[in-house]
Amino acid sequence: MSSIVSLKRVAKRYQRGKQTVEVLHSLDLEIEAGDFVALMGPSGSGKTTLLNLIGGLDRPSEGEVSVGGQRIDRLSGSALARFRARHIGFVFQFYNLMPMLSAQANVELPLLLTSLSAGKRHQHALTALQIVGLAERAKHKPAELSGGQAQRVAIARALVADPTLLVCDEPTGDLDRKTADEILGLLQLLNREHGKTIIMVTHDPKAAEYAKHILHMDKGTLAPQAVA
């Protein structure tokens, strides 16, 4: 299988006052299409930074980042925004739904960046909600949903535009065990049945067990370890 994510000698440094802090050190990574990768590691190990670089939310200080065959490390802000709209679906720990919009309108948001008609957007959003099992809650607002339901809506929003990659940052960090298992089962289903490539940051070893591969990070470097 071909690599859908490729990082070569990637370093990321931040300036904190007069001090330069290197979060990622000359990191190499290849993730194949259709993979489900869990990124684990202690706080401050650089896993979210790595996820942000892959998701095009941030740029590396050094090295190359390619997603879907496209170099994204040198893209301008607007080109990166277009890249994210087309290729990346984000799932956040706290769902990040728009409180004033219904579940369906939240799911439709990424489609506003496409040329789809309103009718098509509506239809696609309903399909995405059906996939996550929440079609009957389409008209509900986030405040009227449980945590698990809100995260399902967020997952529907992440996959509605059929992105190349689903990027999940602690997607079950705010959920109880049972709900977390349901969400992880859903991600696993999207990976196995729909062929979605998923990269997930998690602290939870049980959550990581749902992935095909677990990557351990420590002090800005990677130690790959295959499971299942």
Binding site: S78, R84, A85, F90, N96, L101, L109, L112
Partner: protein, 392 residues
Amino acid sequence: MLKQIIAVTGMNLRNLSQRLGVSLVIVIGIAVTVAVLVSVLAMSAGFNKTLANTGRPDRAIVLRGGSEAELSSTISRENTQTIIDAPGVRRDADGKPIASAEMVAIINLPLKTSGADANVTFRGVGGKLQVLRPELHIIEGRMFRPALREVIVGRAAQAQFKGLGLGSRIDMRGSQWTVVGVFESGGDAHESELMADIETALSAYRRNLFQSVTVMLESADTFKAYKDALTTDPTLSVDVKREPQYYAAQSKRLTELLNFLATWVGGIMALGAVFGTLNTMYSAVSSRQMEIATLRAIGFGATPVIVSVFVEALLLSLIGSLLGGLLAWLFFNGNVVNTLGSNFSQVVFRLTVTPALLGSGVSLALVVGLFGGLFPAIRAARLPIVEALRAQ
């Protein structure tokens, strides 16, 4: 792009109810600014309107040369006759010139509102008063009679001052004058005055000098000829002005003062409103940080975010300005107030909130909104997505 702008702006506006308190800071700040600005300008507009309504282009007023107002002018009886008999003055059916040699004096009367004494113009007028000033109508009582200590009072003066009811007696120069009539004259400055027969007034004040002569011209076009006739007469040293020109000059100083006040007070308040708007919009951007970062992460551009912040600032400013305009209109439009006029006496006028003034208020508010929204919009656009997502 338009779809993005509409979607982000729509979301933002739908979220306003959750930021009602801080949003009201903008609305109230701008409403007060606009209300103050519009009401001060309404004063200026009302005062202008009152003095602009005073006079006709086919009437001329003659003062001693160099006198800016009637109080500082004196004209001898002999000169008065020359002024009235000059060519260009319209004559009545009997061939007599339509003119009025007049005197003015300042008397004190208590205001109805505070009871404090204020200056009122007492004007002695000639017998041709109603032919010379056809806009003057007796609306209550009757005209004064010559040789009797009788006065007629303007409607505006009666509304503002105590003791001007029909039949009331006013102490002037140690004698009592009876109010025998109330007049209106189209809302002009004369409505703030008291009028009596000129000879009786001169006698009461022990004067033999007039202060102005107002003449009706044959037509507005004969003004120049009339003026030339007087100013080239070596026996006279007078200034001749059309009535509207004279009253416009009288209102100029106060109008300038009111406009200066409106500009500075309104300007300083607008500056305060800009800071209020800035503060509120920064707070709005801060409270929407997660939303903005999420939208940017999904792929929305910076422009829709900038537009949404601007639209919010402008919309709140617009609401504030309409509220301020409405308050000014409800509480001030048509209000009767008085101020010192040209003769150091009270001129009563109505505050006039015109559509143009409301337009100025709305324009000022939109400028405030534009400046108040600018920096928060830039901040929103530059919000680092990663940091904003981490900050939740």
